[in-house]
Symmetry: C2
Subunit: 304 residues, 2 copies
Amino acid sequence: VSFSLTILGSSSALPTSQRFTSAHALTMHGHSYLIDCGEGSQIRLRQLGISLRRINHIFISHLHGDHYYGLYGLITSLNLLGRKNDLNIYAFPELYQLLNLDRDIFPHEKLDYNINIIPLNNESPQIIYENKNIEVLSIPLRHRIPCCGFVFAEKEKPRKMLKEAILKYNIPIACIKGIKDGNDYICNDGRLISNNLLIESAPPQKKYAYINDTLYTKSVIPYVKYANILYHEATFDEKMIARARQTCHSTAKQAAIIAKESEVEKLIIGHFSARYKELQPLLNEAREIFPETYLAEDGLNFNF
Amino acid sequence: VSFSLTILGSSSALPTSQRFTSAHALTMHGHSYLIDCGEGSQIRLRQLGISLRRINHIFISHLHGDHYYGLYGLITSLNLLGRKNDLNIYAFPELYQLLNLDRDIFPHEKLDYNINIIPLNNESPQIIYENKNIEVLSIPLRHRIPCCGFVFAEKEKPRKMLKEAILKYNIPIACIKGIKDGNDYICNDGRLISNNLLIESAPPQKKYAYINDTLYTKSVIPYVKYANILYHEATFDEKMIARARQTCHSTAKQAAIIAKESEVEKLIIGHFSARYKELQPLLNEAREIFPETYLAEDGLNFNF
């Protein structure tokens, strides 16, 4: 199974000529998820050959425009493309008004499909979506307005008996369930066979964490721990730390500290202030602490 | 004085990987005007090096999303850039609600400048804006919802006496005002001197006409007559004329007929349906009737 993350927009509030505002497309187990939807997200999806029709779930971290203004166009285009299936949007509930879904001022653009707004909660981490393969956790962040990060994690797979162990130790069927649940096995001759000799080692569960926008906060660490990829905003460099604090954003160094303490495989930094023409200094700053850091760039794709 | 038109978006309802939705930037006498504002207009402006700050007047033809969804991001960015001056938007009045300017659901993105919505009228042509150099006329079009075209025309300049004529015919100051208003002059010896021998010939007035979206209608001809550039939508080719009628759009051939009968200098066609991968057939179709036809393309610039 392949997992794929594509950066659709990597700028913060102001887009630049090269960088659109925040949006990521994540593909896990054949489903595509859109995370944030800045202006022009539908255009980036087209440019990168990602089908709009395959998106059924959109996760909006918070209601600053650079994270949701692309919904207007995307919602309209899905309608023009003949969508009939519900579209689920996980967001703070004011989005309903912001999209004007609460009033009938636009009868000529009536949607032929239904939009469900699934409200986020800024109080505590919550599982907001799950299917048989993955679950999505929302984590409260610390921004100027209510804001959540999202963790997409594969569910633990049922563990399988090793066939050769069944034969070798002559294990009766009645014991197999217990072994799958973690029991060791005691042979007729009294030998104890450790569970890990009887069971296939579990494939590691894939995990993607999206932390955008937030003041530096270690409260996210337990939730993003061991992620294959951690995306963490790095709006500023360490020289601008006062500005970062004032606007509830993070620096590249702070993102790297979170990555290191969370023992993730890879860190992607993004949501760059439009003031940075050159991002190498932010990358260097982060790599001093966490070498496996990469710069987000519109169109960049990461498989994991 | 140079006049410049830049195409920011040339697709119809659905953007493509190359074409954003409708938006034109027009510069006349040092002022920039934005005409329609499809999603991503602010990004195109940045990519083309046109200053966002110089835009004080935005003209929105109608309230289908592909003509105004870019306003959300542009309005927010102008605020982030520190705008204090009023922004004037000429549009059908429902835009006020669509932009959520009527309700206080978004206190964290309070604007530090004022937006004036100047309502369009779908009943009759009206001058909706003028300054000392130009005037802008709105013209009712025939679309599925109220929709206007816009004609940007230089005002007639005050005509000047030819100095050599004053000397040659010994014209008294008392007669000059009448001559400027168009009078001929009768010399003391009874000779009649025709007005055009006394007055500088007026420089031709520059004119740009924007006709987007509309069913084919000759009613626009008197207003777009003799334009330097006529932009006319050509969503479809002639083979799709039934679809054009059904959706209140025009074909490339119909756009060319309007251009020919209006005796314009140059026709630009645009607002192409996303179904056309190749636009040469639309261009050929129009050029058979009006050879001075050009295809709109994002980023293309026309001086006139």
